[in-house]
């Protein structure tokens, strides 16, 4: 069953725009879908005390993260009538402007897809054991804090 399987969500490096486009194209055969919702997280070049964030380096407790994601997936499928849901999170160094998180939900109708996508993103940020290290231009870093 799609909702029970532990799927890998991690990709080394950024999520490429071509990968996202291909992922959308693959859904053309699923003609029961009436609405997709996509969230893309992009690395922001924040200025912190005159230093600019050049990139974020992501690390994770991968085994625990995949188990947690599997539980989140199960909960979301139980709550929302989704046709499918895809999650991709980057690991390693992701430069400012690159995509580090891709959440893609599809359903018969838009509201379900949008609400499920929002809930999934919020839960990923709150519950997945992933850490971001904000690397400054030149030298130095600070650990990212999720608000």
């Amino acid at each position: 069953m799609e909702t029970k399987k532990v799927k890998n969500i991690f990709t080394e490096g950024p999520v490429e725009a071509t990968f996202i486009a291909d992922s959308i194209a693959k859904h053309a055969t699923k003609t029961s879908i009436g609405g997709h919702s996509i969230f893309l997280g992009q690395v922001r070049a924040d200025m912190i005390d005159d230093k600019q964030v050049d990139a974020i380096e992501y690390t994770s407790h991968v085994d625990l993260a995949l188990e947690t994601m599997s539980k989140i997936r199960e909960d979301i499928f139980a709550k929302y009538a989704l046709t499918c849901m895809h999650v991709h999170h980057s690991l390693g160094v992701i430069k400012a402007g690159e995509i580090c998180l891709f959440v893609f939900t599809s359903s018969k109708h838009r509201k379900v897809a949008i609400d499920a996508c929002t809930e999934c993103v919020e839960r990923i940020k709150a519950e997945l054991p992933v850490w971001g290290k904000e690397i400054f231009e030149g030298e130095g870093y600070q650990w990212k804090i999720n608000k």
Partner: protein, 76 residues
Amino acid sequence: MIEVMFFGQLTDSTGVSSVMVEEVANTDMLIDMMKMRYPSLASSKYMVAVNNTMVTENTIITPGSKVAFMPPFSGG
């Protein structure tokens, strides 16, 4: 042996990402042991997972277990 893993900013506090320790009975004893070894852990915020299960109360650690010390998450 037990594998103790540190993540995120805790790797700065301890200087290591993982360390092997002799058998320890439970998580309270392991936490005390780690605070002795890495004093800056005492002032750090973290959660503990034993073999991929988050624990909030003192938990028995069986030999061969993996215990993770994890600071607040900041993914996405």
